[in-house]
Symmetry: C2
Subunit: 415 residues, 2 copies
């Protein structure tokens, strides 16, 4: 485990910051002055303007500009050598003792964050055993909770890339077909069981055009974001057989604005949990490829105080993103720069470590009490849901920033 690397940007040395020099997460920001969104790196409470630095020849990852655009895809496309060189260069430029260059710094408080990359396609997995067991228990009883394939396959389904939004984007409660078990026919109206899913998102940074190994998959992952896969449980319950969730998951998926690189998380690698049954060879991990990252979920009613609902850790995942990506390519499926892989909802074994309200309120049967005394089974209009996460080093944290969204009332339904 490395120590804090000190920076001439003082706020990057503060104990609580998400963005010490060890982190260097990549994002896209725009100032209020009407300038176009462009690439930057978070350092303490500032952003180092990479577009400006590239313009001045201070960082030159390619023979052409790659930071004057509102996405990191062009840089990711350059490959591993460029990734390592930029990180080394930025570490040098921003280290304590280097020439301070405050002219490239922008206050995070003064800018608006945009999507950090163009999402090519979005896939969502189902890799936390506690979550799969909890949801399975509610839908099928504890005897048949875990599907028979679950211990063999990193189960996943394709999601909708067009619905991925950056933290801070309001989320309109979806309408959809709803049918209770005792209803004769479905009706169309606002979801009453609108929920979050606490996940990590892995970003594919290099393309592949056929099956790849788990080791190759690990190398192709550029970085990670927090990911909230908003889910309408009542829409899902009626639509999902036999082809899986569709409109229940298509309203929005919120990601945190900073890509925390695999390089920054390198000191926090841990193995996946012990296998309960042997994996097929194509899924075996040659080295630890999961991470020790603490996570929490907060709920803030409109105009109220936040209650932290849950605390858990990425280590709860049974499959790593590398295993998921390798499986994703097993049929020959081509992957592209900017593909986003959601881990699946991350739930620990304890009731206060669950990653969805569905599990926390056990399908609405055991409503949660907020710190304010109010109760919740699912999300109410005006609620803001916030995910946070960090890998905890010695005297520093590799933080993700907040992944947050407020739920707005559904659109009126007209016949």
């Amino acid at each position: 485990m490395t120590d804090l690397i000190r920076s001439w940007v003082e706020s990057a040395n503060a104990p609580g910051t998400d963005f010490p020099l060890n982190n260097l997460p990549y994002g896209v920001f725009a100032a209020d002055d009407g300038t176009m969104p462009r690439c930057g790196v978070a350092i303490g409470d500032r952003i180092f303007d990479l577009c400006a630095a590239e313009g001045d020849g201070l960082v030159t990852p390619a023979g052409h500009p790659v930071f004057d655009v509102p996405y990191w895809n062009d840089f990711m496309d350059l490959g591993h050598e460029a990734w390592a060189e930029l990180r080394a260069r930025l570490t040098g430029l921003l280290s304590e003792g280097a020439e301070p260059r405050p002219e490239y710094l922008v206050n995070q408080a003064d800018v608006r964050m945009h999507m950090p990359f163009r999402v090519s396609e979005y896939t969502d997995f189902y890799a936390s055993k506690n979550h799969a067991f909890n949801v399975g228990s509610m839908f099928r009883g504890s005897e048949n909770a875990l599907p028979p394939n679950w211990l063999h396959i990193p189960i996943g389904y394709n999601g909708r890339a067009s619905s991925v939004v950056v933290s801070g984007t309001p989320v309109v409660r979806p309408n959809g077909q709803l049918k209770g078990p005792d209803d004769d026919a479905p009706r169309f109206g606002p979801s009453r069981r609108f929920d979050i899913e606490l996940e990590m998102g892995a970003i594919v940074g290099q393309p592949s055009d056929g099956p790849i190994t788990v080791a190759e998959a690990f190398d192709n992952i550029f970085g990670y974001v927090l990911l909230n896969d908003w889910s309408a449980r009542d829409i899902q319950a009626w639509e999902y057989q036999p082809l899986g969730p569709f409109q229940a998951k298509a309203t929005a998926t919120t990601i945190s604005p900073w890509i925390v690189t695999a390089a920054a998380l390198e000191p926090f690698r841990i193995p996946t949990p012990a296998r309960e049954v042997p994996l097929l060879p194509y899924l075996a991990e040659p080295a630890p490829m999961l991470y020790d990252i603490t996570l929490e979920v907060g709920l803030t009613p409109e105009g109220g105080q936040e209650t932290v609902l849950s605390r858990t850790n990425v280590r709860e995942l049974y499959y790593s993103a590398a295993q998921q990506l390798a499986h994703h390519t097993s049929s020959g499926c081509p992957m592209r720069v900017g593909d986003l892989l959601g881990s699946g909802t991350i739930s620990g074994a304890d009731p206060d470590a669950r990653g969805s309200l569905l599990e926390m309120s056990w399908g609405g049967k055991a409503p949660i009490t907020l710190d304010t005394g109010e109760s919740r089974s699912f999300i109410e209009d005006g609620d803001t849901l916030t995910l946070r996460g960090a890998a905890l080093g010695k005297g520093y944290r590799i933080g993700f920033g907040a992944c947050s969204g407020q739920v707005r009332p559904a659109r009126p339904v007209t016949d």
Copy 2:
């Protein structure tokens, strides 16, 4: 029903051609001379080179070039007025009596067709009742064949855009996890039940950023292609619960190279079949939005003769693409130019009108006999599968061209 519109391109007036002047389908082609792929329109056995015509100011749909690129997305983005104007302009330029301009014609036989558009995202539906019933009968018995939601929802799932390829692209048989009902554990190897799905693909030509009506959805569809959603039935059977098909469908989806526009198909609009239960209002069709399009599937063993396996019609679909697209947006899901919607496998009621080998061979229990005397339950290596389709007018046909792919042996599996 309109009559044949005669062209100065003689081959466009021949009775059997897929591409009379009434059709004007849009594609992307490249000559062998090393020039870049660019946009063209099929006319008889020729292609009218739109990139050259645009360069000379003969067609000018925008203030900037849109036909010098290897995709139709930029043109689709221009909207309905531009769509109608180009069709009118091309009809004028290519009509009998207009000044012949053979300098813009290229022989189809001399070029290679490319993907006609960039697929933003790909969604696959399940809209043929016979197909859903047949597959349901095999998997769950005829009592529970049709899922309870099927008559209420245009069931669909998200597919993988990166796997969509143009007709003529070889398809490598996928490897995947396979587990028979009597096996203790899955193994990893080549799919033994590799199959086709005979579908229509609808191409979204205008974006939307929230729920749209069925009428708006119809207007947003630019055109149609034939679509073969290659499917590994054995991979699917083991993986698909509870989140739907994933790697079983990710190897490849082949489309025909010419976008047949909604405008060309206008004379062939028909209503969807009578409802068996009332639809919710958001899915009601204000006018006929399905099409009368004949379809067929052919199988050619390597080095052998083709057997036509099946003949059916798009009218077998219970939901139109407009209904599917409206449902797709019902949760607020944003749609983008270039989104591709597969209809789902189209099967008629008769055994010789089925759109998949799974149904034709009834899960392998009743192998098909080819004209050559060979038999097939599923696809064998070297087989070429070809879809064809046409709307039949008075003395002309609006054809789609072939949607074809040869299956190659699986990659070797190494432990």
